[in-house]
């Protein structure tokens, strides 16, 4: 206890220097954590927008569907298949979809669209579709209407009540054609998806495509903390892989993972530079705290203080200084993380355009959790422990007589 008291008082011998060091540690935490919180929050949002809300974390298709996305590679849903998939731990919801490209038309306008047959009551369990609805209604049970994504609606200048004609190819070479009333307009929160998507009720889509009891995608919504990799392994083991393919979002959307990875490297580099700056900051302080007290350390050894106790005192000084800086940093960054988590940053016009060009929403909600600041705090703490090796070595080699001559 006395050593801690001694370390504490030693810290405040040079109040200005200690405050500067504390502030620099706190600012480093603030900058590093808020930067990473923004980046990770943005990635989470991208994944949620693209993966969680549409593609799904895991999909099951008929073997060969991903390579050649035609209805002919679709799969038959059987109760056994459903039971097997639902018995895998972590599977929260199982959503059936049929998807294909068709030509959409209204008046003089024609456009290729992605037709998805969905069961709205199932989809609603995965995503809040009500929040996406801009106009009309969301394919109520028995509805034969079509739901347009806002980009498609804009292209056709279509509104609720208008009619859209779809022409395409059905199952096993059948031709597909249908005329549908626009029942609603939705915002899919992703510019690319918004520009091509239209939705029909699953039975209506199956009827339009002459594909009764056939789906192209079995989308799996996972429980919040379920391990995606483990689920993939279990599903691959449980299912006959000569008939089915099981794919995670990383495999289905490699460009999304690469985009995140490339951007993340830049962020990590910035954090590394910050760490380097803080390392030299703390080291400078520890170096001065040790060097200017060599004489005093010599005296303490002369009167009978063991090296180990001297070393502990100086290590306590470094640790106290670092922990204080970290606590201040964490206390400052948590409210910022929380604020921008609840009120996401809206990107400026230029940046928003770039983001939307890549198919992402132009808002950046910060990631809010305790793990992120604690991880960075731990890294800085470990850095400070490494820095504390300097006084350890210095004291280990200290000759009290030479130290007392150093004044």
């Amino acid at each position: 206890m006395m050593l801690i008291k001694l370390a504490w008082r030693n810290l405040w011998r040079n109040r200005k220097r200690s405050i500067i060091t504390l502030t620099s540690i706190a600012i480093a935490v603030l900058l590093a954590v808020s930067m990473r919180s923004m980046q990770l929050g943005m990635y989470d949002n991208m994944i949620k927008n693209v993966v969680g809300s549409y593609v799904g974390y895991i999909q099951i298709h008929g073997r060969g569907y991903w390579e050649e996305q035609t209805l002919d590679n679709a799969l038959q849903i059987t109760p056994q298949l459903r039971d097997k998939v639902q018995s895998i731990p972590g599977v929260k919801h199982l959503i059936e979809r049929i998807g294909t490209f068709s030509l959409g038309s209204r008046g003089d306008e024609t456009k290729g669209v992605m037709v998805s047959g969905i069961r709205m009551e199932d989809e609603r369990q995965m995503v809040d579709w009500d929040a996406r609805l801009l106009k009309g209604e969301l394919l109520p049970p028995g509805s034969e209407d079509i739901l347009l994504a806002k980009g498609v609606a804009r292209f056709f200048r279509a509104d609720v009540g208008d009619t859209i004609v779809l022409i395409g190819q059905g199952y096993h070479g059948m031709s597909a054609a249908g005329k549908f009333r626009v029942g609603g307009i939705v915002d899919m929160k992703n510019p690319k998806i918004n520009s091509v998507s239209v939705f029909l009720s699953l039975p209506v889509a199956q009827d339009y495509l002459s594909a009764k009891n056939v789906v192209t995608h079995l989308v799996i919504d996972k429980a919040e903390n379920a391990d995606e990799k483990q689920m993939l392994n279990r599903l691959t083991t449980a299912l006959d892989t000569s008939k089915y393919e099981v794919m995670g979002w990383r495999e289905m959307l490699p460009e999304l993972e690469q985009t995140i990875l490339a951007d993340s490297v830049g962020g990590l580099l910035m954090v590394f530079i910050l760490y380097m700056i803080i390392t030299f900051g703390i080291f400078g302080t520890v170096l001065m705290m040790t060097q200017e007290r060599i004489f005093e350390l010599g005296i303490m050894m002369a009167i009978g203080m063991k090296r180990l106790k001297l070393i502990l005192t100086l290590i306590y000084e470094t640790i106290i200084l670092t922990i204080l800086g970290l606590l201040i940093g964490i206390a400052l960054v948590l409210p910022i993380m929380y604020y921008y988590h609840v009120h996401p940053l809206q990107l400026g016009l230029d940046q928003a355009e770039v983001m939307e060009k890549f198919g992402f929403e132009a808002t950046v909600p910060f990631l809010f959790n305790l793990q992120l600041p604690l991880t960075h705090a731990l890294i800085i703490f470990i850095i400070s422990l490494v820095i504390a090796l300097y006084p350890v070595i210095r004291i280990w080699r200290l000759n009290p007589l030479e130290a007392m001559r150093s004044k």
Binding site: R9, E296, L401
Partner: protein
């Protein structure tokens, strides 16, 4: 019986190609309760002798036997322990720990010895009272005068109940009044508690109060007078 015995100790420093003989075969004994001044011109070897006796410096040859133990054979960690339990130091520049109060400075040495907190406080207060600083217990060194700091240093030196106290030029930075006070305190402790005090000094006021005066020149004892 002698508390300290040095046998033919020499200390040779190298300064480039030149060898400097700081101590040149010094053999001497100190008895319990002695009040001794080691005098001599600068460079005569006073401080080197004190450092050798205090286990701060290892002689090039010879031995320093304290209470039957040859301390020249101890390693640096054993020496730290030995100094803690056997020797009290008083330095020219007081060298108190600046962030501790007077009482804490005196207690600190007992803390290193593992003395329980209540006994530490009791002894520290008693020692500070003996050196006339019972009103300054909670003051830090910077809030004390030079004379007061040196009295705290004496209390600190005595706190560990050492076998002897080594004082290197203890009055060099003090005015006459403070010097007189300090010498009175040390003489009293020497008489009442049988404590052995060994000073290295140039100060005539200290020499006048010493019971034994050892004069060094060129690393050799040239006179050893008991007053």
């Amino acid at each position: 019986m002698a508390v300290i015995t040095t046998k033919e100790i020499t200390k040779i420093y190298r300064q480039g190609d030149i060898e400097v003989h700081a101590l040149n075969g010094v053999s001497i004994q100190f008895e319990k309760g002695e009040f001794t001044a080691i005098v001599g011109p600068s460079g005569s070897g006073k401080t080197t002798l004190l450092n050798a006796i205090g286990g701060l410096d290892t002689p090039t040859s010879g031995s320093v036997v304290i209470d039957g133990q040859d301390i020249t054979r101890l390693n640096s960690n054993e020496l730290i322990d030995f100094r803690l339990n056997n020797i009290g130091f008083v330095f020219q520049a007081y060298n108190l720990i600046p962030v501790l109060t007077a009482e804490e400075n005196v207690s600190f040495i007992m803390l290193l010895q593992g003395v329980p907190a209540s006994k530490r406080k009791q002894r520290a207060c008693r020692l500070l009272e003996e050196v006339g600083l019972s009103e300054q217990l909670s003051r830090r060194p910077a809030q004390l005068s030079g004379g007061q700091q040196q009295r705290v240093a004496v209390a600190r030196a005595l706190a560990s109940k050492p076998k002897f106290v080594l004082a290197d030029e203890p009055t060099a930075n003090l005015d006459s009044k403070s010097t007189g006070n300090l010498l009175d305190i040390m003489a009293k402790l020497s008489q009442e508690e049988g404590m052995t005090f060994i000073f290295s000094t140039h100060d005539q006021r200290v020499i006048d109060r010493a019971k034994r005066i050892i004069t060094l020149e060129d690393g050799k004892i040239i006179s050893d007078v008991t007053v």
